[in-house]
């Protein structure tokens, strides 16, 4: 038989020869397809949540930050006597949280009945816009009505107002008060008679206390007062709380992979019977900031991987299994945000203290289930990207997509196959700074 005949012999014999396929192959294909589908939806969901959280928190932060610039530029344009107390009060910041398209540029002048202050309510889109709005006001009006600004005693009330007044919407307050009235007013700064009322489009009213500037204070003193205020507030911001405690919980997706050096071992059988279900991690940690950017933290991390052990053949048994770990993570962080929104890149190592399992689908020669897992699994690697929003001076809320890679096998050496489990998920938690 020459070469060509030899080739032809094999081709003719095998090209259309069908080999019997295992009876459960179709179910296996469908099952694997579903797993992939779930996997991509899971990660799509995590990414979506991460981006949405990041976007909204970042948007919030950017608006606040821009508005600080606006207040600063407005102060420069309107002269030394304006807006002395507005720095750091936070009111101007909140007003710019409104969607830009919903803001109006109306200038409404209201004479609040409770105080005799004239309130000019307008909505700035930017510092430049405000400057132009203000410049439209009659010069003598501005001279006769030096401005006063809100202090931090502002609050929002849910009182419904008459229909016609609800037309006034989306305000940023610049409060102007007649000099002739301020002496009397200044003695009762916290009295309700000094409140200006502005109305939001949902019918809620913002009541702002008006603090008059003492008439004796000339512009240079006002400037000094401004500097002092800013300086003190600046110190408050710079003074960081370097220690923090975090608590978190995470739904997680675990990926297990079987390998073996024994080529005859039926790995596909293991893949069929070990089906991973909803898993989670939870933990607490304590950390320290090193400067503004770097941090380190450690704590306790609990991980639980839930499994269903089910054969597809005639034995058809089904066991609920779980594999859990107690670990000590040591994580370094690099902070790339500022203000009340931060993004932090985390990376580190996780040292396993103990590992345990319940349920097994592997049996010894006597038919007894065998615990296939080691009692400790060594070191894992952690990678995460955290998005944190400051709720107040001490507490941050955070969400962190992460991936835990376990390079070592979690099965005992005497077991004929090896298993690795990696995990991914998104942690949600709180961080307390002290």
């Amino acid at each position: 038989m020459n070469e060509e005949q030899f080739n032809k012999f094999f081709r003719d014999k095998l090209s259309n020869y069908p080999t019997p396929v295992p009876g459960d192959m179709w179910e296996r294909i469908q099952h694997k397809n579903k797993r992939r589908f779930f996997f991509w939806w899971f990660f799509g969901g995590i990414l979506l949540i991460s981006f949405a959280t990041g976007y909204f928190v970042f948007q919030d932060h950017t608006n606040k930050y821009n508005n600080k610039d606006h207040v600063s530029s407005e102060r420069q344009k309107t002269g030394a006597g304006n807006n002395i107390d507005s720095v750091g009060t936070g009111h101007a910041e909140k007003n710019t949280l409104l969607p830009q398209e919903k803001r109006n540029n109306e200038i409404t002048e209201s004479d609040t009945s409770k105080s005799s202050a004239n309130t000019i309510t307008t909505t700035p889109v930017s510092g430049a816009k405000v400057a132009s709005v203000k410049s439209d006001l009659p010069r003598n009006y501005r001279e006769q009505n030096p401005p006063y600004t809100a202090n931090k005693n502002s609050y929002i009330t849910k009182n419904k107002l008459p229909e016609n007044q609800q037309q006034v919407s989306f305000e940023t307050k610049t409060t102007w008060q007649n000099n002739t009235q301020k002496e009397a007013d200044s003695t009762t700064a916290n009295d309700k008679s000094h409140q200006n009322t502005t109305i939001k489009n949902d019918g809620t009213a913002r009541i702002t206390n008006v603090v008059p500037v003492p008439p004796a204070m000339d512009s240079s003193k006002k400037n000094m007062a401004l500097k002092d205020t800013r300086s003190q507030k600046g110190k408050t911001i710079i003074k960081q709380k370097s220690l923090f405690i975090t608590g978190y919980f995470s739904p997680a997706f675990a990926f297990n992979k079987f390998t073996t050096s024994n080529t005859n071992y039926p790995l596909s059988y293991l893949n069929r019977i070990y089906k991973i279900r909803f898993s989670y991690t939870a933990g607490v940690s304590i950390g320290k900031m090193f400067g503004k950017r770097f941090s380190a933290q450690t704590g306790i991390l609990y991980t639980q991987v839930n499994m269903i052990l089910q054969t597809i053949d005639s034995a058809n048994f089904k066991i609920k299994g779980k594999y859990s770990n107690i670990d000590v993570p040591i994580i370094a962080g690099y902070n790339i945000g500022h203000g009340n929104f931060t993004t932090t890149i985390h990376a580190g190592m996780i040292f396993n203290l103990s590992a345990s399992s319940h349920g097994s689908a592997v049996y010894d020669g006597n038919g007894n289930p065998v615990d296939i897992y080691k009692s400790t699994t060594g070191i894992s690697l952690y990678f995460g990207l955290g998005f944190a929003k400051q709720l107040n001076n001490a507490i941050n809320l955070f969400a962190e997509p992460y991936f835990i890679y376990r390079p070592s096998y979690i099965t005992k050496p005497e077991i004929p196959f090896k298993e690795q489990i990696d995990m991914s998920g998104i942690s949600f938690g709180l961080r307390y700074n002290f």
């Binding site: 038989m1 070469e3 030899f6 080739n7 012999f9 094999f10 081709r11 014999k13 095998l14 090209s15 259309n16 020869y17 069908p18 080999t19 019997p20 396929v21 295992p22 192959m25 179709w26 296996r28 294909i29 469908q30 694997k32 397809n33 992939r36 080529t263 005859n264 071992y265 039926p266 790995l267 596909s268 059988y269």
Partner: protein, 180 residues
């Protein structure tokens, strides 16, 4: 249901059509997987992965050329992908084929398909892959070289050794059956 309707149904993710496609072609595709795999378990993995890829990429099939040929290419590529993860060794057991045995006049005549498959499966991985690609799929040596990241010369020598080893095994099998 025509083949075109079947393919259309699979493109629309119709599970019934996917099952029909599986029933129609799984046997032939299993033979391809066994030819490339080291053992049955590996062949089953290849078959499973191959069908998942077929359902995933069937929308790319443009009704040009034989559908069965398109399916076979998917399965061959899937098998190669799985094998390449395991690092195919192309210089295994040269000494194994050094000895020459006298050739029987027609040792192939009595061979059944499953025996031929078994003989191919017994080949070392490098031999097996090149033999399948050249003899069964009709690739040329330069194409095999590109696909597997080896030289033309390696491909040729692997094929020669594979054929020699097959002949040798067939003759030995023939001798055994003659003794029996």
């Amino acid at each position: 249901m025509t083949e075109q309707e079947l393919i259309g149904g699979c493109k629309n993710n119709n599970t019934g059509c996917q099952k029909l496609l599986f029933d129609k072609y799984s046997g032939i595709m299993m033979t391809i997987c066994i030819r490339y795999a080291h053992d049955l378990s590996e062949a089953e993995d290849m078959l499973q992965e191959g069908f998942i890829r077929v359902y995933k990429y069937i929308h790319q099939y443009r009704y040009e050329g034989s559908f069965e040929g398109w399916l076979k290419r998917i399965f061959v590529n899937t098998a190669l992908k799985i094998l390449q993860k395991k690092v195919i060794r192309f210089s295994e057991i040269d000494a194994y084929v050094e000895s020459n045995h006298p050739e029987d006049s027609n040792p192939f005549s009595s061979l059944q398909e499953h025996e031929i498959l078994q003989l191919i499966s017994n080949l070392p991985t490098g031999y097996r892959v090149v033999f399948n690609m050249y003899v069964m799929e009709g690739y040329r040596h330069n194409e095999i070289a590109v696909k597997l990241g080896i030289t033309d010369g390696t491909s040729r020598s692997q094929l020669a050794k594979a054929k020699k080893l097959l002949r040798q095994q067939i003759q030995e099998q023939q001798k055994l059956s003659n003794y029996e």
